[in-house]
């Protein structure tokens, strides 16, 4: 096809979901004004949520959700075999996401609490890269459609698809928001990867780090900031653990 004078093949994509809310896939159907142009770049081979058509000849697989059952592992491995590019799509896929909060308790206790002891299969929650190789990660709870559009265009034109290296703080300052720390709240904006346009802090709620750590963060300095301000360390722990995205920066 020809788009703005450039020739390229439509991307043969498929979208799959595992343990999640399907909110990231839903973003693919959002930004309605650019929807026709967006799907114009794509040859959708399988996308159960919006189409009954199903073909296994896709090149790019968008995989949403974390993994918490053995049949999911099998499905994911089959997708990995087919896909030339496997995209971990959204925070659950990239980091385990909120589902990981379940891992604080033994599986038997979880099942007993919700299913009155009936036999239900469930495994501790894992992120996609714990099971198969991931080629590209697009974090966010939910993913930001503008960023997805940018990355899809990069894939279609064969250019480099990259996420911002800097933290949410930069975008937040650009939007001239009052700092959440100055409002007395712990905010993960200083250590979280940008790309969301600081949507939470612009709504005056603290960043909970859904996009995971930015490149080269200074975690000890961040901890020092929280201590200096005399903010609750229990609150810090709850926020760092919310999306399971700061596993590499343990805080006790």
């Amino acid at each position: 096809m020809n788009q703005q004078g450039m020739h390229f093949e439509k991307l043969r994509i498929a979208s799959f979901d595992f343990t999640c809310c399907e909110g990231c896939q839903l973003q693919l159907a959002n930004r309605e004004s650019s929807l026709a142009a967006f799907f114009g770049l794509l040859d959708v081979r399988a996308f159960r949520e919006i189409s009954s058509e199903k073909h296994d000849d896709y090149d790019i697989a968008f995989v949403e959700g974390s993994i918490s059952r053995s049949d999911e592992i099998e499905r994911l491995q089959a997708i990995r075999k087919q896909a030339k590019v496997l995209v971990a799509f959204g925070t659950c896929a990239c980091f385990g996401g909120v589902n990981s909060l379940k891992n604080r308790y033994p599986i038997e206790a979880c099942i007993a609490e919700v299913y009155d002891g009936q036999q239900v299969e469930s495994l501790p929650v894992r992120k996609i890269s714990d099971i198969v190789k991931v080629d590209l990660s697009i974090p966010g709870c939910p993913v930001a459609k503008e960023e997805v559009e940018r990355i899809v265009v990069s894939l279609a034109t064969g250019s480099l698809a990259a996420l911002p290296k800097y933290p949410v703080c930069v975008e937040c300052k650009e939007r001239l928001n009052t700092c959440m720390f100055d409002l007395g709240e712990i905010c993960l904006g200083p250590i979280t990867r940008a790309g969301c346009d600081a949507v939470c802090t612009t709504g005056k709620t603290p960043c909970l780090g859904c996009r995971g750590p930015a490149d080269d963060i200074n975690f000890p300095a961040f901890l020092e900031l929280v201590r200096e301000r005399g903010l609750s360390l229990r609150d810090l722990k709850e926020k760092l653990g919310f999306y399971h995205a700061f596993e590499a920066y343990p805080y006790q």
Binding site: L26, G97, Y115, T202, T205
Partner: protein
Amino acid sequence: MKRDCSIDIRHLTRVEGHGNIRITVREGKLVEARWAVVETPRFFEVMVKGMSAERVPFLTSRICGICSISHALASIRALERAMQVTPPPAAEAVRLLAMHGETLQSHALHLFFLALPDFAGTPGILPLLESHPELVRAGLHLKELGNEISTVTAGRCTHPVSLVLGGLSKAPDRKHLQQLLDIIGERKSALEVACDFFASLDIPQFERETEFISLHNGSTYPFIGGELVSTDGVRRSENDYLLMTNEYLTEFSTSKFTRCSRESSAAGALARFNNNSAFLHPEAKKAAEKLGLRKVSHNPFMNNIARLAECVHILHDAEALIGKLLDMDLLEIRTRFTPKAGSATGAVEAPRGILYHHMETDEEGRVSKADCIIPTTQNNANIHNDLQALALQSLEEGKTDREIEKLAEMLVRSYDPCISCSVH
């Protein structure tokens, strides 16, 4: 004519989540018709334990990617009632507007992306972009408007940002509210296109007497809180939600089933309409009349029509609400409170029906126990029973396997099941 028929649909498409349909007929007799949810369970009731009350709506909104605002508000309502917090009137108005945005987005998604292809005979919406451009544009315009309303009121359409305990963390921008008013004015024509199209469709003729459960407040079409009522005459207060649901487990489904006065009951747009049609906006009443929807309708396929009538209501009510907000100063938006121990239920009408969150907190305001009962959970048993009746009726009418399969898929879709929600 005695015949065999075997329908086995694994992972039904154009629904949210994973569910299977199985219908087996041997020598003209129905052996089995079953709706089974096979989605991976997520354990939100465990995940929320020990979490500070203020953070809870940010977690529970993640139960669903389509109705995250409903989940956030159900948790907020439960926790506010548990801790006796009264949000300011401006915050209540903004919350209702956020619900309107979500319901419009969800209904437009269902009607145009999920249901329309069945009536048009295409696998999905994408081929319709070329064959029915005006109709698809109308659907996209309505869906976009829903998302815009949610974004202006809640900071983001999926997984809201500014809906917090006590009210709002940030008031909507007046300029954005004014813009919404302009867009609503423009988009009423999209609603007309949608109504004309759906009025021209042959809705499958199928009825099974059903108990319909919804909220009811006696003065407005219900969205947030109120009495729990059923078309069989049951009335309960919000905190007595367990008497409406009576959850039980089946061995073939990871989502629970529920029942009230009968073997099953239904929640959703049709249930809301059947219990509350008197409170619809006059324009929505007119649309319902034109579309052949009258209470009490026992045809589950009329859920689609009830959704469309609700879209009409929402556009007009949103217009009035925004007018009201523009007359307010929007300075008092958040009630400060001290967390404490308590327990209460928050019920809201999510797009797919009545949604209950029950929360218990300790002295620090941390959740010690939570229970969430989702609309799809309340519809599963009814879908299952409808499938059996539909299979029997279709056999009597001499329908082919392919026709039965299509009708069965359409029946399940008419409930717009939100399966990942139902195995929260």
